[in-house]
């Protein structure tokens, strides 16, 4: 089965899921599933730079925060137009990614990892220190983004998020299959060779970084809409770690893998958390075992060659 087929199957299953939940009479699951899809979009955006660009960002949750706060702050000033809110959230995240990327992409490897982490921490502390927008306690939204749809209805919101997920899956496959995507992969395997053939690699990496940040910011805006609440904790550094885990568990560089990874991660979180409050330790053990036994990810093992990164 090709990855596109898997993605299509996933979307179809997700589209039918509400019917199942309705039959079970469990409408609460719908909220959980919506959250999974939102994190799926975030994980997918990280996969664009991690799986295809080989850029290990440990600060990706910052865009969730920026997107969420963009919606929250606009709502705070009484601007509820959904097109404005989602647009500003996406653009603000893209802008932040442009700035962060312009500095951090001048370096590589561990430097890159630490700098993205440091920048996300900077925005995290910024959000904590601005008391007008709730500071540490977070900001409660007055209303959902107004797109002419009733986001208060969980079913409507579910299908809206699903449509977004499907769109971003399609978009990512297009990006990855394009000449631009080929360049990214080429740079991942041998950057100096790409420079030698005459490609300005910095510009391409920065573009990918900005696209990825923008998509993640959009996911952040969706997240704010679901909970009607944003707080600094949505961009805590452990959240960035979670996103990395989702991508790797699902399979780097497979686009649809990270979405499944996100769904499984949140499912595991829910299940483990119902048994014990120490589920973080359990997750930690799973992670260590995953690496020591050779990580390929769920879909990574299906694609030939196993380890899909260089």
């Amino acid at each position: 089965m090709t990855k596109e087929r898997i993605a299509l199957a996933l979307v179809v299953v997700l589209a039918l899921l509400p019917l199942l939940f309705a039959a079970m009479g469990e409408s609460y699951y719908l909220t959980v599933a919506t959250r999974m899809m939102i994190f799926g979009i975030a994980a997918l955006s990280l996969d664009l730079i991690l799986g295809f660009g080989g850029l290990i960002s440990l600060g990706h949750a910052v865009y969730l925060g920026i997107g969420g706060y963009a919606v929250g702050i606009l709502d705070f000033y009484g601007i509820n137009n959904g097109f404005v809110q989602l647009g500003v959230a996406t653009l603000a995240s893209a802008g932040a990614a442009l700035f962060i990327g312009a500095v951090s992409l001048r370096t590589s490897g561990v430097f890159f990892l630490m700098i993205t982490l440091a920048f996300s921490q900077m925005v995290y502390f910024l959000a904590i220190s601005i008391n007008s927008f709730g500071g540490d306690d977070g900001l409660t939204l007055n209303a959902h983004s107004d797109l002419g749809l009733n986001f208060g209805n969980t079913q409507v919101f579910y299908y809206f998020v699903l449509a977004c997920l499907a769109f971003f899956l399609w978009l990512s496959f297009r990006v990855v299959r394009s000449r631009f995507g080929m360049l990214l992969r080429g740079m991942k395997f041998n950057e100096s060779r790409m420079i030698a053939i005459g490609f300005p690699t910095f510009r391409y990496k920065l573009t990918a970084f900005v696209i990825s940040g923008a998509i993640c910011g959009f996911a952040g805006a969706l997240l704010a809409n679901q909970t009607l609440f944003v707080s600094p904790s949505i961009m805590q550094w452990t959240r960035s770690g979670d996103l990395l885990v989702m991508v790797i568990a699902g399979g780097m560089g497979t686009i649809v893998g990270p979405v499944i990874g996100a769904i499984l991660f949140l499912l595991l979180e829910k299940v483990l958390a119902s048994f014990t409050t120490y589920w973080g330790a359990l997750l930690g053990m799973v992670l260590i075992a995953l690496v020591l036994m050779g990580k390929t990810g769920l879909l990574g093992s299906m694609t030939k060659g196993g380890r899909s990164h260089g």
Partner: protein
């Protein structure tokens, strides 16, 4: 703002800087020699703080507390190196991130399991509880002064160890070319374990000293860890001297920014605006500094000469 307040804040900044140096020395050595990114380094800091506070409270002996904190962090480092870290040195950075992120989660939950989610009270030992008069200018808490003195002494010892002993020579040799050092007969397995334990011990020392000043809670190491990352990135990865300079600069700038940004902004902004924007800018200051330095010198201020 008065001169005495400035002096006091400078000392506070130095104290934070010293603490950051103790954290980052181990991180930067471990990176320089084993090429390992260790997100779990903050856990050794946390272990030092918890063990010292706990043993001190139950035995009433500060000395025992220090031994427990320092020795415990060192021992945990040694065990973790033996069980897990030595298996991943050869892996790529993503492996390191995943494993050490997992370890951090485990250590944080372990602290929560043993000592509960609430903060553990860490006491200042009675002989350091008072104030010290410095040059007849200000009176400064003896405990904080002791941190500065201990930190500087450790920094000097570390410098001596790295520059003037055989072990230090081997460490530096492995840092600049580990394959060659190993080919010339250096037992890298033992050396790696030693360096790792040394780093863990230094982090534990920072943690046990930080206990009475900051709160001892699960996850307390994470924020310090990220600051230490900023330090070693600014100082130049793998360079202990660079980490020392960068730690002091960052400690000073962060502390001074937090205390003097508000009055400074008050000079040319309205009071409400200054009150709102000053803390925000102050919290971003060191990251902005990092961005500026990296923009002009992506390899950091004092990169090691040969890699």
């Amino acid at each position: 703002m008065s001169a005495t307040l400035l002096l006091e804040q400078c000392l506070n900044g130095m104290q934070l800087g010293i603490m950051l140096f103790l954290m980052s020395a181990g991180l930067t050595l471990v990176f320089g020699i084993m090429n390992l990114v260790n997100l779990a380094h903050g856990s050794f800091y946390m272990a030092g703080a918890y063990l010292c506070a706990f043993v001190y409270a139950s035995s009433q002996s500060f000395l025992l507390g220090v031994i427990a904190g320092l020795g415990g962090a060192l021992l945990i480092g040694l065990i973790a190196e033996f069980l897990i870290f030595r298996r991943i040195y050869k892996g790529d950075h993503l492996d390191h991130v995943l494993v050490t992120f997992g370890l951090t989660l485990i250590f944080n939950d372990l602290a929560r399991l043993i000592w509960g989610p609430a903060a553990l009270f860490a006491r200042v030992p009675p002989f350091l509880a008072g104030q010290v008069n410095i040059f007849g200018l200000i009176s400064y808490p003896a405990y904080r002064l002791a941190i500065i003195v201990v930190g500087l002494a450790v920094a000097a010892l570390l410098y001596g160890l790295l520059r003037h002993t055989r072990l230090g020579m081997l460490i530096r040799a492995s840092a600049s070319n580990r394959t060659m050092a190993s080919a010339l007969g250096v037992n890298v397995v033992v050396l790696y374990a030693l360096v790792f334990a040394l780093g863990a011990g230094l982090a534990g020392l920072a943690g046990l000293m930080a206990g009475p000043i900051f709160t001892v809670i699960p996850g307390m190491g994470d924020n310090v860890l990220i600051l230490a990352f900023v330090v070693i990135v600014v100082g130049g990865l793998g360079s202990v001297e660079g980490a020392f300079c960068a730690a002091l600069v960052i400690g000073l700038i962060d502390t001074l920014g937090r205390s003097f940004m508000k009055p400074l902004f008050g000079l040319f902004l309205e009071r409400a605006a200054a009150d709102n924007s000053a803390p925000a800018i102050a919290s971003m200051l060191i990251y902005i500094l990092m961005a500026v330095i990296l923009f002009f010198r992506p390899q950091g201020l004092f990169p090691p000469k040969s890699r």
